[in-house]
């Protein structure tokens, strides 16, 4: 039987028991799996892809017990399982469970209101744009230096004596200024 408890996934992303029944007939029947973080005092946090209800499929439940004080790590372990092993996208996770576990700092995109997330994303995009513009200006500066180096290299290839001019300019830059006065 499916577990009673609080489900890790949002209701809308869980299948109705009737929907999965067709996969559970015949010899190659699927097994519906539930993974449960069971906390002292009667709170079961359940990860499963099928809503609780009358299920025609065979079900297997894996339970790990946690002391109440470890509620945070219990939920974190379950989220890790869902997102890394079962590859469930973060937005399918029930934000109330994250809030209960005090994990909003770790998963801000799940906890925040959609409007706040959009505001942050917009701010992030703007910041990224500014940063990339800065990078572009630095890149264009580098391009200029490289271009000058290329011209000097060509000049040196054509006229070996130009190396002596360059050497004097580098050693005594003020001397160059005097040429223009």
């Amino acid at each position: 039987m499916p577990q009673r408890g609080v489900y890790l996934l949002k209701e809308v992303y869980m299948a109705e028991p009737s929907e999965v029944s067709s996969y559970c007939r015949g010899r190659d029947s699927f097994v519906v799996v539930y993974v449960v973080a069971s906390l002292d005092g009667g709170l079961d946090v359940v990860y499963g892809r099928v809503k609780p209800g009358a299920l025609e499929c065979p079900a297997a439940t894996f339970t790990r017990r946690f002391p109440r004080a470890e509620a945070r790590s219990a939920v974190e372990t379950l989220i890790d399982f869902a997102t890394r092993v079962d590859k469930v996208p973060l937005f399918q996770i029930n934000p109330e469970v994250i809030r209960f576990a005090g994990l909003c700092d770790e998963y801000p995109l799940i906890c925040e209101e959609p409007a706040v997330v959009i505001r942050r994303l917009t701010a992030g995009v703007a910041e990224k744009k500014t940063r990339s513009q800065r990078v572009v200006s630095t890149a264009s500066g580098m391009w200029l230096v490289e271009e000058l180096a290329r011209i000097l290299r060509e000049k040196l290839e054509l006229d070996g004596g130009f190396a002596e001019v360059l050497k004097r300019v580098i050693e005594e830059p003020d001397k160059l200024k005097e040429c223009y006065v």
Binding site: V6, G41, L43, E70, E96, R99, F100, A101, E113
Partner: protein, 221 residues
Amino acid sequence: MKPRVDPCIFLHGDVEDWVALLGDDFIRELVRRFRHVAVDMDHVARYILENPGVASIGLRGLEVGGPCRREWRLFVESGYVDPGARARWLYTPNDERLDVRLQVSPCFLLASLTRDVGSVWRNRAASLFSWVSAVPRHKPLEVFREAFPLWLRELGWSRGYSWVAWTRWRDRRNRHLAEWLYWLDTGRLPHIDAIRRRANVVYETAGCTKKSAAGGLYVSS
């Protein structure tokens, strides 16, 4: 554990009332169940007030008795809270109609946001969605204080909550709306204030009422 109040206490911003109405056993259990996010009762209260949806999750499996045990059982086992109004207001006859469809108590913020609960919000509190895009699950009091239109808040201030409660939306009274205005102004729920401050005086209260009829009295402070 036999609390003298219904689960709405978790939206009532007065920790002394929590202690007085929930009782020491309940408070100890609450701190134990939330100690992964809070160190003492004040922290727990603040955490739940800011995140009302966590209360029912933290209390899963708890046996609760007392006068409101049915509401508690529903809350603890399924995260559901009745959307009905709790407070009883002094009869203030008036023929005013307010074009505000808000027939859900603020206590309903404690209910887990399932699809069914979402439809109750949409159907019975349609006006709310002109002011907020979704039911806020974090710091709802702050969100609604900013979101509610000023003219509505001013009605509560100038005419009184009882007057608002006896105005109409279609054929219904606006008792839920009066609860909202009281909650937004004080951070407390009127029926719990009634239990705490006025229960033994002249006012009756609807402590864990499912049908709060108009017989009782409550005067806005």
